[in-house]
Subunit: 231 residues, 2 copies
DNA sequence: CCCCAATTATGACATTTGTCAGTTTTCCCA
DNA sequence: TGGGAAAACTGACAAATGTCATAATTGGGG
């Protein structure tokens, strides 16, 4: 599919490229449908291009020396990933794996860098994007360093609701993303069992409901309270 | 003092500005000597310029809703701070306070932005800087999320040794920065008492020595082991 | 549609870390 | 240079979280 007709592009970093630039990208990109569990790239390997998510969901994560996984971002349609390694001229510092079937385009490094270097407006957008990313990451650091696991879980559920929420019956909001309890633990930085236990506490408090692995938010106000002040 | 003669500039972001650009900055900047404890800016206020550290040491930190402090960076001569808020066009998302008497220049926002927009090489350096910053922050997030307090303290001591180490007698290396135990705790994300206890354990293991608040590293290899594999 | 492996869930317990209360030490500056 | 406040330190205990073992449930592929 041509980038000009890509739905995700509308509010992506590529939203206001010139037709010529889009044409170049479209010509050189390759698009693949990835299944759940497939990995786009591994930490430590050399980046050769940029991944652009058309549909589906992807997690970006690091593995520590003792084998634990920490999820850094969840990526959704319109986002792209892998630019940090390209810009810093490093090997990938994280891995990326598909968590829900995804259509993803691959844009060769050269094309990305060409646009970056020839389009000042895009360059500026990229600078702002990295600055914003850094701000988000700093806030996450503070949250992980200073809040309890319970607070972090409540905050994470609210964040997921904002990004993946689907309105359901009776004001409940379904968190529509196929995250395992383990993934959730690896976002928060805790053990899987702890997440399971706290989720069932939240269920007992009627803040959420659980059916299988699907989570519905029943009382966002209550979760907010848990996220801010639990003592 | 004129920027052209600033020792810190040699390997700073301003290392290869043109003489004219330096002249502009020099003309418009103001320099002040700050005492320990003075605050450069507060979280939530509007950035009007950029701080450039000539000498001394500064901490950049956030305060959580429940009053806890998390230190995000320690800043040293040659670094500058406050650019993220300028680039993202936000209010400051953190505060900055002097921890050792410091000579600091203030460069008006307009001058910084002018150079940013007129000097592509500087712009590119800034992009890379933010990308590198983000990489560092991601790694810190993983460490805080996945490592024990003991491991984080060992890792932090090694990091401080790299940055502020002064060779002493008998291969010991003094960590030459006036950090209180509380500051150290606020870097690591733990309670002050926990830091004190672990430091005295490290002392008993002869990994470090303590005299007053000064810490000397005796056995970096041993600390490395604590940082990586403590079980 | 059923079975099996993966995931979720629960219990018991160990360990880490935080909290509070109090003592000792340090060092700043009046 | 001595007094006092801040910082460093110690102990006792509580709370949060991790770990391991095991049971229940689920959902995807044959």
């Amino acid at each position: 599919m041509h980038c000009a007709f890509c739905a995700g592009r509308r509010d992506s970093m590529f939203s206001d490229l010139s037709p010529e630039e889009l044409e170049t990208i479209s010509m050189h990109k390759s698009c693949i449908l990835y299944k759940k569990g497939q990995t786009l790239y591994y930490e430590g390997t050399r980046p050769m291009g940029l991944f652009c998510i058309n549909s589906g969901k992807v997690k970006v994560y690091k593995i520590t020396s003792d084998g634990k996984e920490q999820i850094l971002h969840l990526v959704k349609p319109g986002d792209f990933i892998g630019y940090r390694a390209l810009i810093s001229e490093e090997f990938y510092s994280a891995s990326a794996t598909v968590i829900e079937e995804a259509a993803i385009c691959y844009i060769p490094k050269a094309d990305f860098l060409k646009i970056l270097n020839s389009n000042p407006h895009f360059f500026k957008k990229m600078l702002k994007k990295l600055s914003d990313d850094l701000g988000v990451m700093e806030q996450r650091l503070v949250t992980i360093a200073q809040k309890s696991v319970r607070e972090r879980l409540a905050a994470t559920l609210l964040m997921l609701k904002e990004t993946y929420g689907m309105e359901g019956e009776e004001k409940s909001v379904l968190i529509d993303i196929a995250l395992s309890r383990e993934d959730l633990a690896n976002i928060i930085g805790t053990a899987t069992e702890t997440v399971i236990r706290l989720l069932s506490e939240f269920k007992n408090q009627e803040l959420i409901s659980l059916q299988g692995k699907k989570i519905k938010v029943l009382n966002p106000q209550g979760l907010l309270k848990e996220a801010d002040f639990y003592a």
